[in-house]
């Protein structure tokens, strides 16, 4: 099959997946688009929003639409790392006792880490190796996770009681952080109508794991003009307060800027978006569309920014406005 046909199939399946999810999740089209972009780019997503906005439902529906092995981990304060990655247990094989590895819920294609910031950092960090290396190590033995492997985590806003902020290293491993906002009145009415009726829409699988892997491969073929690379690099550099020519808000409120992973996320995300828009090349508008999701969890505010409750999205908006193509 030629790449052109693969791309056509890609587009068809991506749009079908989007439509399947939209059957269940109403009024969150931008969130769905960002989740799919991260998925096809091979990245993990952190969904943030107050409880009850359908975050968990979105991930579960995604699992159904893509026909992936789905598992859910409910993060709680007493959750232990072994509860996530699995553990060796003593087994009896015809009278011969030996330790056998019992895989945890991380061994799935699509892992929903629900309310990830409810668990203490030690447990949160159990995901680190899995998210970066797609493998887990238990009792000095490393186990490879099945591909594709995606972690879709949800978290409540940090100011809520009983939450533990994710460490920076872990945050950086999330491809996107997608803010799930409150739906509009019309959308909320549709949600109420949908969720309180007798018939729940049926979600059909439209793509397989192999197709998702192929879609990830084809995504990387999308071309970028050199000035787009330069633009993305400039965007990332301008999130650092010690750089020259940065926006005033960055200088005032940012403590640490985005890592190179942010640039990778922006470019890969822009590539997926370009394909979804029917193009074979990345445009500036693709970069601008995915940059907030790739940057907002990687910009660490200073004390002044935290004290004034500055929204990173405000800083990113100014960054995008003031950083131009050269």
């Amino acid at each position: 099959m030629t790449d052109k046909k693969i791309i056509d199939s890609y587009l068809e399946k991506a749009r079908a997946t989007e439509q399947e999810i939209q059957k269940v999740i109403v009024g969150q089209d931008e969130v769905i688009r960002h989740v799919l972009i991260a998925l096809f780019a091979g990245g993990h997503v952190l969904l943030e929003g107050v409880p009850g906005l359908g975050k968990t439902m979105l991930i579960r529906t995604l699992g159904q639409a893509l026909d992936l092995h789905f598992s859910r981990i409910q993060f709680t304060p007493d959750l232990m790392p072994a509860d996530i990655v699995g553990t060796d247990i003593l087994g009896d094989d015809h009278g011969k006792r030996s330790f056998e590895f019992q895989p945890g819920p991380i061994f799935a294609n699509l892992v929903l880490a629900d309310e990830i910031n409810r668990a203490p950092p030690k447990t949160q960090s159990a995901l680190l190796e899995a998210m970066q290396e797609h493998s887990v190590t238990v009792a000095k033995k490393t186990y490879q996770l099945d591909e594709p492997f995606f972690v879709m985590a949800t978290q409540n806003p940090l100011e809520m009681d009983g939450t533990y902020p994710l460490p920076e290293a872990q945050l950086d491993r999330f491809f996107f952080k997608v803010a799930v906002g409150f739906p509009s009145e019309t959308n909320l009415a549709d949600v109420l109508k949908l969720t309180t009726g007798g018939i729940m829409p049926e979600v059909n699988p439209v793509a397989t794991a192999a197709e998702v892997i192929e879609m990830s491969r084809i995504t990387r073929q999308v071309a970028l003009a050199s000035h787009i690379y330069e633009y993305v690099a400039r965007l990332v550099m301008h999130t650092h307060p010690d750089q020259e020519g940065i926006p005033p808000l960055v200088k005032k409120y940012v403590n640490y800027g985005a890592s190179p992973r942010a640039g990778q996320a922006i470019i890969l995300g822009a590539k997926v978006r370009a394909l979804l828009e029917g193009r074979f090349n990345v445009a500036v508008e693709d970069v601008k569309a995915v940059a907030p999701a790739a940057l907002r969890h990687r910009i660490l505010l200073n004390f002044e920014g935290l004290a004034e409750e500055v929204n990173p999205d405000t800083i990113i908006a100014e960054l995008l406005e003031k950083t131009g193509l050269e």
Binding site: D3, A223, A225, F280, V282, E285
Partner: protein
């Protein structure tokens, strides 16, 4: 490859329109900057009264053209590359980086051909319906309009502001042209003198030196009166030089006249040449004479001619008269040996040779003096022509109707230079048209004459003139004299220059 060529062709067509568009607006900016710079330059030039009206217009035009040219040159130097043009093209028509990506992919070797072609097809499809001329805004932006209005206002304002200075600059330029013409005339005179072979090297130097000094000074002269003064100085030097050698000239001419009036039956070649005022031929004839080959008849005739010449120049040139008389005496002595006779003749010839050379130099100096006088008068005449007569600016010395203190000129029609010429003021009994005392009726010349007659001592005219000229110059330099009257003051003192 063909598709890529089509894409480039489309881009090239758009680039032409883009270049035209940018050239027009960039050129407009350059023209405005050029005109603005010209106005600033003109402003400084006006403040020094060194710019004429026509030059101001030329300066503005030139500034605009240079500004336009420089802007186009800069535009050419900063012409965009193919990729930069592609980015501008896709930016203008919202092509979402399709063109620049396609061009870059075409040059990449690691990109699969299939992806290159897909991108190329996409780029071609997106540009297919685009009219390359569309998307350009040909209207002049309001900021450019503002700049245009400001620069135009500045140019027009400077035009009106500089009218007085333009006129002064015009007059000054005319003066400089007149001075330059006289410089050329003097240089031609110097060339002629340099070619004059009848003068020795030293004599040529003697005559040329004052002329060259005058030329150098004239080249630096700032005003007509200064030029007239320089010429007058040079003229005086030439007169002095001419008069210094006038005695020799006079003696030869007197000798020639004497011989021409003589009733001699037969003249020797010497006598013939001398009586015809062909002095060099006379000298040559004298030199060619040989004491041995001379018969008595010629000897007697020559003796008589030499004696007559000696007698004629006895008063004007005793030394030469003595030499000639000695030669005449030698010719009359029967016992004189040939060698002594020959020596006497050579001495006479040598004396005549010197006198002849002095006469040539005197003539050259006189000729130069005449040329200098002609130049000076020409400059003075030009200065008078440039007077703003008939514009309510009466000349100093010009008849002014019934105003008290106005002098009376002979013509009564205002010829200040003629009336106030130094030679006239010093001339006894003549009337001059200037009476600084404010009283009417008497002219300076008469006053001077009275003083001289009464035996009272008075300072020389030159001394007075120098004081007044210095004072006038200081006034002119300090702006104490109104601009419109400066030429009047200058001309007045120029006419008084001794």
């Amino acid at each position: 490859m063909k598709k890529y060529r089509i894409l480039l062709d489309r881009l090239k067509i758009w680039r032409r329109w883009d270049t035209l568009h940018r050239g027009l607006f960039f050129g407009l900016h350059g023209t405005l900057v050029g005109i603005f710079a010209s106005v600033i330059l003109a402003f400084f030039a006006i403040s020094t009264e060194s710019l004429q009206a026509a030059s101001y217009l030329r300066l503005l035009t030139l500034g605009g053209i240079i500004g336009f040219g420089i802007s186009l040159l800069l535009l050419w130097l900063k012409r965009p590359t193919l990729i930069q043009s592609a980015r501008r093209y896709e930016g203008q028509h919202k092509l979402k980086e399709r063109i620049s990506t396609a061009i870059e992919l075409h040059a990449e070797e690691n990109i699969p051909v299939e992806w290159q072609m897909m991108q190329l097809d996409d780029a071609l499809a997106s540009t297919a319906a685009i009219n390359p001329r569309s998307g350009f805004d040909w209207r002049i932006p309001k900021w450019d309009w503002g700049a245009l209005v400001v620069v135009t206002a500045l140019a027009v304002g400077t035009w009106f502001y500089g009218q007085g200075a333009f006129e002064q600059a015009f007059i000054h330029a005319q003066e400089q042209a007149q001075i330059a013409a006289q410089v050329n005339a003097l240089e031609e005179l110097v060339n002629e003198i340099e070619k004059n072979e009848t003068l020795s090297e030293a004599e040529r130097e003697q005559v040329i030196a004052p002329l060259q000094a005058a030329v150098e000074k004239l080249n630096q002269a700032e005003s007509m009166e200064e030029a007239v003064s320089i010429l007058a100085d040079a003229e005086r030097s030439m007169d002095a030089l001419s008069q210094a050698d006038a005695a020799a000239s006079q003696s030869l001419q007197e000798a020639g006249q004497k011989l021409a009036q003589a009733q001699a039956e037969e003249k020797t070649p010497f006598g013939e040449a001398l009586s015809n005022a062909q002095f060099q031929e006379a000298v040559d004839a004298l030199k060619e004479l040989s004491a041995n080959g001379m018969n008595e008849q010629i000897q007697a005739a020559l003796s008589e001619e030499l004696a007559q010449a000696a007698e004629a120049m006895q008063q004007s040139n005793p030394e030469m008269a003595e030499s000639l008389q000695e030669a005449a005496d030698a010719l009359q002595q029967e016992q004189m040996d040939a060698e002594q006779l020959q020596q006497a003749l050579e001495n006479a010839a040598e004396a005549m040779q010197q006198a002849n050379e002095q006469m040539e130099m005197s003539q050259a100096a006189e000729q130069s003096s005449d040329a200098l006088e002609s130049s000076r008068e020409s400059l003075m005449a030009s200065a008078n022509e440039g007077q703003p007569q008939g514009e309510g600016q009466p000349m100093v010395g010009e008849p002014q109707g019934e105003q008290p203190g106005s002098g009376s000129s002979e013509t009564g029609e205002g010829a200040p230079n003629a009336a106030n010429a130094p030679e006239r003021i010093e001339a006894e009994g003549e009337k001059a048209g200037l009476d600084p005392s404010g009283e009417s009726g008497r002219a300076l010349g008469e006053i001077a004459s009275q003083f001289e007659q009464s035996g009272e001592s008075i300072e020389s005219y030159e001394a007075f003139y120098t004081q007044y000229e210095t004072s006038a110059w200081e006034s002119l330099q300090s702006d104490a004299v109104p601009l419109a009257l400066r030429s009047v003051v200058r001309d007045y003192f120029s006419s008084l220059n001794p």
